[in-house]
Symmetry: C2
Subunit: 361 residues, 2 copies
């Protein structure tokens, strides 16, 4: 089940989010040492429950080099508790995509408290202010940051922009990875704010990939069908441009069509996550919907960092949580937020005839 979660979390990571593999190792060890973590539907949580997100913040490539200690995850929680003046009764993941889908398992296991089957994104985004609670006016701070050296920071800011800037400066100084606890909220708030079932969705996506492989069916079709998404393109990667800009991995993969898409071209633009997809020059999907590349045969999710010439991939689009599609949601996480001067295009509106047929199968 942890294996399925990790595959699904990599799909929901939409190309970014950090590799959850390292988080899986931590989670597995924490569960072995401290017992299993109950996963609760938000509906089961008392209104007066005290909940926080626990997440790693930093450069994904560094996380892989230095396995965070379980004690750091708990220290992040404690630092926030010292600030708010109460203990948390439940943990929630900030994002069900990528590394941060599994990091909270460790906090919950060590504390012996349940984890919510809900997150604050329904996917991965590169910044901790891009969460559904923020759409309801919740503040990015207070926020704790804890590192491997035992340093603890509690940050309270007037804006999410300042929180991000100061947190990043501290994070870079301390060695590029910190553990964070943030968005303290009540059970009642969690019910309203969070994306319900985000972890079971990730687990289910991993499961359908595994099952389809075992049955020699198409894992890509299985993922698309599970989430009522769209198979936007099948193609071979013929070029990848990638640059690092201010800590972001920015670039574009160019794909040349295969099979039904023979003769067509697809451009998949990324800024950590895959954010804009254009087929033959026409935008067919954008953030906040999820764009993802899956290896054509195995369905293995391919992060933007790993895109290489010659890969044969399917580009799929999955609808995001409805709240990201509101005016305030699009202002926060629409394509313009990431510097792409295009309008949001809901993935289901852009299905080509062939793909629609395929998705409906």
């Amino acid at each position: 089940m942890l294996d399925d979660l990790v595959v699904g979390a990599t799909i929901l990571a939409a190309g970014g989010g950090g590799d959850p593999y390292i988080g899986k190792l931590m989670a597995r060890r924490s569960i072995r040492d401290h017992g299993p973590v109950p996963l609760l539907d938000v509906a089961e949580v008392p209104d007066d429950a005290r909940i926080a997100f626990v997440a790693s913040m930093g450069a994904p490539s560094v996380v892989v080099e230095k396995l965070p200690r379980a004690s750091e995850v708990v220290a992040a929680l404690e630092a926030l508790e010292d600030h708010v003046g109460y203990r948390f009764t439940h943990i929630a993941p900030a994002e069900a995509g990528g590394l941060n889908a599994v990091i909270p398992v460790t906090a919950a296991a060590l504390r012996g408290i349940p984890m919510l089957d809900a997150d604050g994104m329904g996917r991965a985004f590169p910044s901790l202010d891009l969460v559904t609670p923020a759409l309801y006016g919740a503040s990015t701070t207070p926020l704790s940051l804890v590192d491997e050296h035992g340093n603890r920071i509690v940050l309270t800011t007037e804006s999410s922009d300042w929180a991000d800037r100061i947190a990043r400066a501290a994070m870079i100084t301390s060695g590029c990875v910190m553990m964070s606890a943030l968005y303290p909220m009540t059970g009642a708030q969690a019910k309203e704010w969070l994306v319900r079932g985000a972890l079971s969705l990730a687990t289910r996506l991993g499961e359908v990939v595994r099952t389809a492989r075992a049955r020699h069916e198409s894992p890509v079709d299985a993922v698309v069908a599970e989430q009522r998404g769209a198979r936007l393109f099948d193609g071979k990667v013929v070029g990848v441009e990638r640059a690092t800009e201010g800590g972001w991995t920015v670039g574009e993969a160019v794909l040349c069509g295969l099979d039904d898409f023979e003769g067509q071209e697809f451009r998949l633009r990324f800024r950590n996550e895959y954010l804009v997809g254009a087929r033959d020059g026409r935008i067919v999907a954008t953030t906040p919907d999820l764009l993802m590349a899956l290896e054509l045969d195995s369905g293995a999710p391919i992060p933007a960092e790993e895109m290489r010439y010659g890969y044969r991939v399917a580009v799929i689009g999955l609808p995001c949580d409805d709240r990201w599609r509101t005016e305030v949601g699009l202002r926060a996480a629409g394509p313009r937020r990431f510097g792409y001067d295009v309008d949001f295009s809901p993935v289901e509106a852009s299905l080509p005839v062939e793909a629609n047929t395929r998705a409906a199968r």
Copy 2:
């Protein structure tokens, strides 16, 4: 009296410490709006008093450009109070030298609480871990940092080195000046840890300069006599080398002797503060003793930043608090701490015959 304090604080700043003029303006306005600040001898403070240092942290040249708001100073105190869980009953200056000699006046005035006539250095040093409480094992953190944007940080670290690194990163990100509250201590601890009478010493130094000028006597001799210091050299500045290295102003002023020192040369090395003085190649004074340059006729203190070719100055040495001369004190603040490979040389041991005579007058 605030004017005397500012002149004396500039002398105790030993060439660094930031210009207290801007702090004087803040202090004057705070006292006008909120009433006078009682200055207490540490002996008068109850053992269970709750005391903290309040200080600005940042690039002195920036502080002059952006006058900190009084509210920021109080916010720094509040952020630390939120962390420790109690209210402070007294304020103390971290350093009686430079800007931070007067910044705490504003916090005390706005809060309506007394200020201690004691500091944590008996001079200025460039780093907030170079305080006498640290010699007793007190930790640099918890430490609060507050900026003009309303951002608040509370930092808890395993070492003063990490505190300094992370605080500086945050400070640079937020625009190079932050207000800090740190070293929460009891009245009993303050009695043991702090340098007693540091603010009245600064005020007295300012007063003897003013009085000597009025009487057409030598302000330089008056300062030296007041503190049983040494007049190490009289000379004309014939060269200044100054560079910025990792946020430090590093360099050396070369002086050519006048009067009693005719034919001799003096080299005054600085790293923010004046730290090492050598006359004709022989070290005559070093940190943690205070080295200071005073304008020869007026006695006006000349910070390292303002040293210029052609200035006629007296270089004086003043003994530091005895605790800086212990083994642990020298390890913290001796010349090697600042990268000078020389031994500490107590200023009174290095008096030339002429200067000894002069100092004894």
